[in-house]
Symmetry: C3
Subunit: 255 residues, 3 copies
């Protein structure tokens, strides 16, 4: 009922795997590779050409790869040169500018704007309307909540662009801004609305403008729940350790 193959356009130079579903009005451009078992929603553009296309008559679209079993929801715009791992899921209307490298099992929320030349690891979850500036690096198992911004310009406007780096297992709450060049360590929690101007050490709960250390995250107690971080010991949904639990998990085997 839903995939009518109506008004779908696929470039002759695109490669479409087995058991792929492509939505109505979706446009698959040159040199896009869609691996097996992928679903692409309605009204998407995959392999959007780079700026150079508009002025260079010899332009050739870079290869774009959508990993097996991925689900790209409707109205996505994915530029040429992106590489998405397997089992990536997106919300609606994401924008991936050129040359991002995204791991497997990562979720990109609705209207996520990944501005190009960004590395995002595996098993990350970016919520609605996150903005990731060029040159940012995000590790594995990182959670970014709505309207988090990673900036890359230390004294705007400048040409000295440098992205922030967010390390494994860290969680950045809604409306936080991470400054250019800042490293957020592993296992951190950054509070909602924070403005992070300095590096944050591993296992830090930080908040405020400018963001400051509140406590060691391992000492942070939620009433009635006790110590709830690091979160991996109590949360396994969609994570590779699953029901076996974090303590029993061998990351070398399955991450």
């Amino acid at each position: 009922m839903i995939f009518n193959n109506s008004n779908t356009q696929i470039s002759p130079s695109a490669t479409i795997g087995k058991n792929v579903r492509i939505g109505d009005n979706t446009i698959i451009l040159d040199r896009v590779i869609i691996e097996d078992h992928v679903t692409i929603g309605h009204n998407c553009v995959i392999g959007e050409p780079l700026n150079d296309y508009y002025s260079n008559p010899d332009y050739e679209n870079p290869v774009t790869r959508i990993g097996a079993h991925s689900l790209i929801r409707s109205h996505a715009i994915i530029y040429a040169g992106n590489t998405l791992g397997e089992y990536v899921t997106t919300g609606h209307r994401i924008i991936l500018r050129e040359n991002n490298l995204i791991g497997h099992h990562t979720v990109l929320g609705t209207q996520a704007d990944i501005q190009g030349h960004v590395k995002i690891g595996s098993y990350c979850r970016l919520y609605t309307s996150v903005v990731i500036s060029q040159l940012s690096e995000i590790g594995n198992y990182v959670f970014l909540y709505p309207f988090v911004v990673l900036t890359n310009d230390p004294y705007p406007p400048s040409n000295d662009l440098k992205g922030p780096s967010i390390s494994d297992f860290s969680v950045i709450a809604a409306h936080a801004t991470i400054f250019s060049g800042v490293t957020v360590g592993a296992n951190c929690l950054v509070g909602a609305g924070s403005v992070v101007k300095q590096d944050i050490a591993d296992y830090t709960l930080a908040a405020g403008d400018p963001a400051k250390k509140v406590t060691d995250i391992r000492k942070y107690v939620v009433m009635g729940k006790g110590k709830v971080y690091p979160w991996m010991k109590r949360f396994s949904r969609d994570m590779p350790w699953g029901k076996a639990g974090w303590e029993n998990w061998d990351p070398d085997r399955s991450a």
Copy 2:
């Protein structure tokens, strides 16, 4: 001139009322009910199937209902299972995930992201890019300004999701974040950029991170204007009391 009925797709199991206009490239999916005098813009998807659709061969789309006289602007994505009252108006590119219940005469601004299982009352006005997490509850006559976020996870990531509750006649200014489980009372005003971590009593003006009471809203004076809250006594545009005025209005009759 504008409704060309070009490339419109309507499921045989959809129900379309009288005097309904449907935009070009719009897709109306299974078991959608569009009541009389509704306008749906271009490039919309109404009745988007739930996640289960992708894996369950026996999937049946839940009923979606768009109330009479509603106006859904272009590029909207409305999942199956939503119920919209009469005279609902939306901006462009709203997203309604599954099973929201929305009252009548409510306005959902451009790019509003209502994440599912949310209750929103009547005569509310949500501005651009508001994000409402699952399980949130919003009363009647509530105003939410751009980039307001209602969160639902008390120690992210967790499975103990609980939405906030915003009571009748309250106003939340731009960029405010309301924490999981918090109740904002009736007739409150929450300042721009606030981070609301604790309940707020009725008639409170609150601001800051964390948000704290500034004053009783009834004592708040704007220079040259005097006491301007509660706002209903001086503002009636699109409200049921209209030109007759708040003092003369019988809510039992027309809300």
Copy 3:
């Protein structure tokens, strides 16, 4: 390869210049003027009718003008009554409500929401998801970073709408909120997450909630870089002074 002229709809009353490219599924409505050498991406709506259209049988669409050499990226929604200068570039999914006046060489980022009756000068750069309320005024060479909001209601909800004014060469960092009626002077820098409630004088670095003066911007020193503001003396990308440099530039000639 990319402009297939598939499912494109152009009103008979539209005027299309020379060397214009129009994307698939794009709809060009009544009385739109597209000047020479313009590129319009896929899935756009240009000349969207105003509210009055839905109720007035004698409705006539106001003229919409897209200046020569402009590039409008995919999924844009541009209402009737807009006037865009030459060499305007947009990201994807911008929304221009009615009757904005936009200068030349200005860049409107992805998902920018310009709410109508707004003036924006030339050589401005608005980044992702900026929200500009009705009646706002923005000078020339202004930079607005992601999620900046210009508000226009001094005690919401009210009918006393008044936009802010941002003067030439000023830079507003991510997540800042500028209050109704506030004037940000020329050559200012407003920090990320600021809430600007009062006027800011020329050459001010301001930050915080409420935003306060930190220093004269001309005294602000970045370690290893020295004094970096005003930015024009060290930054020329896409600016009219170009490689000749700010000191050698005659604005009366080329701005």
